[in-house]
């Protein structure tokens, strides 16, 4: 499986393979579990997409929730605006699916525009300063939403159609993971890794560091927007309070815990933390305390996270590996 056909197959096959499995899961899971499943899926999308900026490119974004908000609000406007819209000649279910798909794409597009906006200051900024700009941007987005009448100000928009189900969320995860994996193995991914390892050296070697940083932000933002759009169409409500600095930090913890630069690490960490948070729901006040202690202890003992930049299969015996791809260092 080489050449163009192989590439296309590798990108399409996961979707084709996942669809029947997700349908099955959808049919089997009781409603509470499917809620948890969607939560996990949303967090996996967030963590993997943030990993593109924080892990692959070595920048430090702490405003991921802002992109989520942009995606969520855009999609919410589309679905509420098109609720009575009926695609000609299609049954209602299929018509809803079309509307939701349009909403998701719109959310991703708007979020990537926002990512472009944040990426531009990175023309001149590095490291900590960039982190602060993403944080500031997140706060500005929140202030804008809270002052815009169309977006429902502080109360937000309620009564969104409950379009998100296990299949949509699962397909979102597949799309994100395929994107991250394909990106990492491509020339573009190598450019991002070069920036992470040594920005000055990468620039000297002819890597367009500014361009790639901006692109990483745009890609990451688009998928954060997808996660936001999926989440609000499950809980049927979107408010600015859902997308605060705390939410951004949750995602950062997931990425750091899993290992910056490791896709499987992000997936595992996001899943574990979401399940942990769900079961800690009763002891809500201890949740963030445990989170922060976890972060501190992790940094003091194992700052590269559980997986570091490795993937899960790097830990498996040699003969099970198909190819030596994905290793960053």
């Amino acid at each position: 499986m080489t050449g163009r056909a192989g590439l296309v197959l590798r990108s399409i096959a996961p979707f084709v393979a996942a669809l029947p499995v997700l349908w099955l899961v959808q049919g089997v899971l009781p409603s509470y579990h499917s809620f948890v499943f969607i939560n996990i899926a949303v967090n996996v999308i967030l963590a993997v997409s943030l990993n593109v900026v924080n892990g692959f490119t070595g920048q430090f974004s702490i405003g991921h929730a802002a992109f989520m908000a942009v995606g969520a609000y855009t999609a919410a406007l589309v679905t509420t605006g098109m609720e009575t819209f009926q695609v000609m000649g299609l049954p209602p279910v299929a018509s809803d699916a079309v509307v939701f798909f349009v909403a998701l794409v719109a959310g991703m597009a708007m979020a990537s525009l926002a990512g472009l906006l944040v990426g531009i200051p990175s023309l001149r900024l590095r490291g900590d300063y960039l982190a602060i700009v993403t944080l500031g941007f997140g706060e500005i987005i929140r202030v804008i939403i809270e002052n815009t009448r169309v977006l429902g100000q502080a109360t937000g928009i309620s009564g969104l159609p409950a379009y998100t189900n296990v299949v949509w969320a699962g397909m979102g995860v597949v799309a994100t993971v395929v994107m991250a994996r394909r990106l990492l193995l491509s020339t573009q991914g190598r450019a991002l890794l070069a920036i992470r390892e040594d920005e000055v050296a990468a620039e000297a070697m002819g890597v367009d560091t500014v361009g790639w940083k901006v692109r990483a932000f745009v890609i990451s933002a688009a998928f954060a927007g997808l996660a936001g759009a999926l989440l609000v169409h499950k809980i049927q409500l979107v408010t600015p309070r859902m997308f605060t600095f705390v939410k951004s930090m949750e995602v950062v913890v997931m990425v750091v815990l899993g290992g910056m630069g490791s896709i499987t690490g992000s997936i595992v960490a996001a899943t574990l933390l979401t399940v942990a948070l769900e079961s800690l729901q009763a002891a809500d006040q201890y949740r963030m305390v445990i989170f922060s202690m976890l972060l501190i202890v992790l940094m003091l003992t194992r700052p590269s996270g559980i997986f570091g930049t490795r993937e899960i299969w790097d830990a498996m015996p040699r003969w099970t590996r198909r190819r030596p791809g994905g290793r960053a260092t």
């Binding site: 430090f60 702490i62 531009i120 200051p121 023309l123 001149r124 900024l125 590095r126 490291g127 900590d128 300063y129 982190a131 602060i132 700009v133 944080l135 500031g136 941007f137 706060e139 500005i140 202030v143 804008i144 809270e146 002052n147 000055v200 050296a201 600095f245 930090m249 950062v252 750091v256 006040q285 201890y286 949740r287 963030m288 305390v289 989170f291 922060s292 202690m293 972060l295 501190i296 940094m299 003091l300 700052p303």
Partner: protein
């Protein structure tokens, strides 16, 4: 005109607070190149330390100047100790690791303080510390009663806001035909300026200040020249935290509502002020604080007041794009 002057008065009074907090950020950044995210929470902890001391001393019923000073000094000591501990146990072990690791730890500390302070206290759980001690088989000596009664059973304070007792009675003056100035504004302005001058003297006129600037310039070479780098860094944290405590008490005097997340926004904004003035630059932090305070007050006064929180970050992004080294900072060239 009167309205404008009133905004100037409010803006300067807010700006001095930002300036005091920003000094802590700027000094720590100067010596460690670290954004100490926990600084805003040291400010919060200092406000609570002051609150507990004031409660133990009974400031609410019998406020005196002596008690106000005791609260100030006690809170400064508590904040200094907290700042020292954070540096010693969280940042120092990571000194030679990638800067990102320290930044993440700083965020972790910040969250730990914010959410740790929101946990329910023994009192909220319907127990007292004495009962817990007795449960462990320990008795409390009589002279410790008031202290043991106040602190451990009402700490952590929990998410509900507390109200800081007034250290002295508020007097409002009307000057220049309608501008309101209270004695709190005057006192906090004088105290803030006093501490800034003191800091300026410490940094530029003392041996310790020279050592601090040397560490900021190049820690390794400073170490080779016989400067105790670790001690200088610890002292810098203590100094910054003490200034945060001063800021916290000045705020708590005029805006008495204190809660565990009160440090988040002022902390971020003070950081913006530090960047605005040129991070690592002491006069820059003061200037940045005042400018930010004025800008916020003007925006809140003349446009929609809910834009207040946005202006700081808009300013930040603008400054970083136009002049990343800040107003008074010197541009640095990255060398390989």
């Amino acid at each position: 005109m009167t309205e404008f002057l009133q905004h100037v008065v409010n803006g300067v009074s807010l700006g001095t607070i930002y300036a005091l907090i920003a000094l802590g950020y700027t000094m720590v950044y100067g010596v460690l190149k670290l954004i100490n995210f926990a600084h805003g929470d040291v400010y919060m902890a200092a406000a609570f330390a002051g609150f507990y001391i004031a409660t133990a001393l009974g400031v609410r019923d019998h406020p005196t100047i002596g008690k106000a000073l005791a609260v100030l000094v006690g809170s400064m000591a508590a904040a200094g100790a907290l700042g020292w501990a954070i540096e010693r146990f969280a940042y120092r072990p990571l000194r030679n690791r990638p800067r990102l690791a320290t930044l993440i730890t700083a965020i972790g500390i910040s969250f730990l303080l914010e959410y740790g302070f929101q946990l329910p206290s023994l009192q909220a759980q319907g127990r007292t510390f004495e009962e817990v001690l007795r449960g462990w088989g320990w008795a409390v000596p009589g002279w410790l009663h008031s202290l043991v009664g106040v602190l451990p059973s009402t700490f952590p304070p929990g998410p509900t806001p507390r109200f800081f007792p007034e250290p002295f009675t508020r007097i409002d003056w009307t000057v220049l035909g309608g501008v309101h100035v209270s004695n709190y504004d005057v006192v906090s302005f004088l105290v803030a300026v006093g501490f800034m001058l003191l800091l300026q003297w410490i940094v530029y006129r003392t041996r310790f200040g020279t050592a601090m600037r040397a560490v900021s310039f190049d820690p390794r070479v400073a170490g080779l020249m016989g400067i105790p780098v670790n001690r200088v860094i610890s002292a810098t944290f203590v100094l910054g935290s003490v200034l945060a405590a001063v800021a916290a008490l000045l705020v708590a005097g005029s805006r008495p509502r204190i809660d565990p997340i009160m440090g988040l926004m002022p902390g971020l904004k003070a950081f913006v002020a530090a960047v605005f003035g040129g991070i690592g630059n002491v006069p820059g932090a003061m200037l940045g604080g005042i400018v930010l305070g004025l800008a916020e007050e003007m925006v809140a006064g003349y446009t929609v007041s809910s834009f207040r929180d946005g202006i700081a970050f808009a300013m930040l992004i603008l400054v970083l794009i136009v002049r990343p080294e800040g107003l008074l900072g010197r541009p640095t060239v990255e060398k390989v």
